[in-house]
Amino acid sequence: MGRYVIRRLLQVIPVLLGATFLIFALQFALPGDPIRALGGDRGLSPTVYATLVERYNLSDPLHVQYGKYLLNLLRGDFGESFRGRDVSRIMADAFPVTLRLTAVAFTAEAVIGILAGVLAGLRRGSFLDNLVLVSTTAVIAIPVFVLGLVAQLVIGVELGWLPVAGIRDGWVSYLLPGIVLGALSLAYVARLTRTSLAENLRADYVRTATAKGLPRRRVVGRHALRNSLIPVVTFLGFDIGTLMAGAIITEGIFNIPGVGGQLFLAIRQQEGFVVVGIATALVLVYVLANLLVDLLYAVLDPRIRYD
């Protein structure tokens, strides 16, 4: 196990380097001059232009630019935008908002998803089971941005239960966008829990537990559910990264000033370093979440043994 952990940790390094280089190259290798764009119609004086190009290392070959960027990154410095703001400040403003959104989505997904899945899995073929099946199918089919707009229209405007957009109302304003963001995964979690629980309830060890005279509550809670939740927990772990990336869409619909908004702003303003910074952070979360899942899997399921 220890060697496996170390090997997986080492494997993360080339992945991060490769992924960030890919995004870096997309931003800086292609035509387009962000410094010239800064000057607008009037243009910058040649000296100012030359100074700025020098300052942001834009005259270097791509791999040198990336190397310099990486060296700064290792010191925790994300560089500064062409407009002179620290990229880390921009990210420090945007990421807490997205994290809050993701936290709401994750909580909804885990709590409602597992609850619905357990209720459906315990009584297969019941009304509740069918309700869960039909509603999750609908949620899986409806694209998240359509779902978001409909939720906004119905729950926000018609019924007036929750704030429609923005984050002025504190935590409450994250509820609707959070649930919309988590809806797709919620459906998957519910289905996964249902299938997994229903399968395990037929397993020999559950029959043994029942035969020993354990109350049903204990059989389900201690024996069946624990095993059934292994695939669910790994799915949830994996989903953290997906949710953060998916937040880009949800934030657009609900007008939430998180990383998605900053990413689009930076793209429009040709702020390459901001784009690369945000993307790097998102990739980092995504890759680490995947790593966590792999390790968690080994811990939770003793049948899986790594060399």
């Binding site: 490769g18 992924a19 409806i142 707009l149 990264g241 997906t242 993307a279 998102l282």
Partner: protein, 303 residues
């Protein structure tokens, strides 16, 4: 990602079930006999058939020209002659929604075909030969897998000078192949050392022949299942990107673009959201259901 997990745990399927009952009961024949009678296969398959016809011959469904617009008719409500009403520019909305199927199906088809070709070719090579090639391919796969599809697509699309169907399909392909390649690789790995493969090699068959005739037919089923669901995912992603303003651009006709226009007027004319939203959801639903049905039929363990 659920597919990813299930596919890896599916293990070595086929041989036992197929061999025992002779040639007439191959995996595919069994699956087809079961699928034909299942409503969970027939309904989505019919839906996809209709959508395909809609994509190829939209004229069969509507006489109106989706680009014949008149501002005087802007956002008129649905009526008997014009079932879906008119959009902001005064174009017949029913015609536009029908023509939108072509974009979705084209993007889905291009990306799925391309990804399947990449995954099958390189997945087979990695799984069959192993060694250095496998390691190199695995590292490249890891790197691309580390970039979330929507993030990679946004970053790459925004630096492209032109964003048509072809460019969009290419970008989606660039960032979406890793899971499918991993499925293919693990499948090939699991049948590579089967007896019939060794028998074929003993008879002097070359690598290419072994891969094509013996390994591929026994390894491809999970890839096909995944590709069906993947088709739906790609259609959603195209619509989402167009909705965000980084996908297709006007005057292209795309459900995502229509929904993005509808968003601005959602309070006054909700039908602009309803129709493309409904068509998009039904299309995705069809591919997801078909994928589920195929998985159930092609996995002998679930029979």
């Amino acid at each position: 990602m659920t597919e990813d997990f299930t596919a890896q745990t599916t293990g070595p399927p086929e041989q036992a079930a197929g061999a025992a009952e002779g040639e007439s009961a191959s995996l595919w024949a069994d699956a087809w006999r079961e699928l034909r009678r299942s409503p969970f296969f027939v309904v989505p398959a019919l839906l996809i058939l209709v959508l395909t016809v809609m994509a190829i011959w939209p004229q069969l469904f509507t006489n109106a020209d989706p680009r014949d617009c008149d501002l005087a008719r802007s956002v008129l409500r649905p009526s008997r002659e014009h079932w879906f009403g008119f959009d902001l520019q005064g174009c017949d909305y029913y015609a536009r929604v029908i023509y939108g199927a072509r974009t979705s199906i084209t993007v889905g088809l291009l990306v799925t075909t391309g990804t399947v070709i990449i995954a099958v070719t390189f997945g087979s090579i990695a799984g069959y030969y192993g060694g250095v090639i496998d390691t190199i391919l695995a590292r490249i796969t890891d790197i691309v897998f580390g970039i979330p599809l929507i993030l990679g697509a946004i970053v790459m699309l925004t630096v492209l000078p032109r964003r048509g169907v072809g460019e969009l399909a290419l970008v989606l392909m660039v960032f979406s192949w890793p899971p499918m390649l991993r499925i293919m690789r693990s499948q090939v790995l699991s049948v590579r050392s089967a007896d019939y493969v060794q028998a074929a090699r003993a008879l002097g068959a070359g690598d290419l022949r072994i891969l094509r005739r013996h390994i591929l037919p026994n390894a491809i089923a999970p890839v096909i299942t995944y590709a069906t669901v993947f088709f739906g995912v790609i259609i959603v992603t195209e619509a989402a990107l167009s909705f965000l303003g980084v996908g297709l651009q006007l005057p292209a006709i795309s459900w995502g673009l229509m929904i993005s226009v509808a968003q601005v007027r959602i309070l006054r004319v909700p039908h602009l959201l309803a129709f493309p939203g409904l068509f998009l959801s039904v299309t995705v639903f069809a591919f997801m259901m078909l994928g589920d049905a195929l998985r159930d039929a092609l996995d002998p363990r679930l029979r």
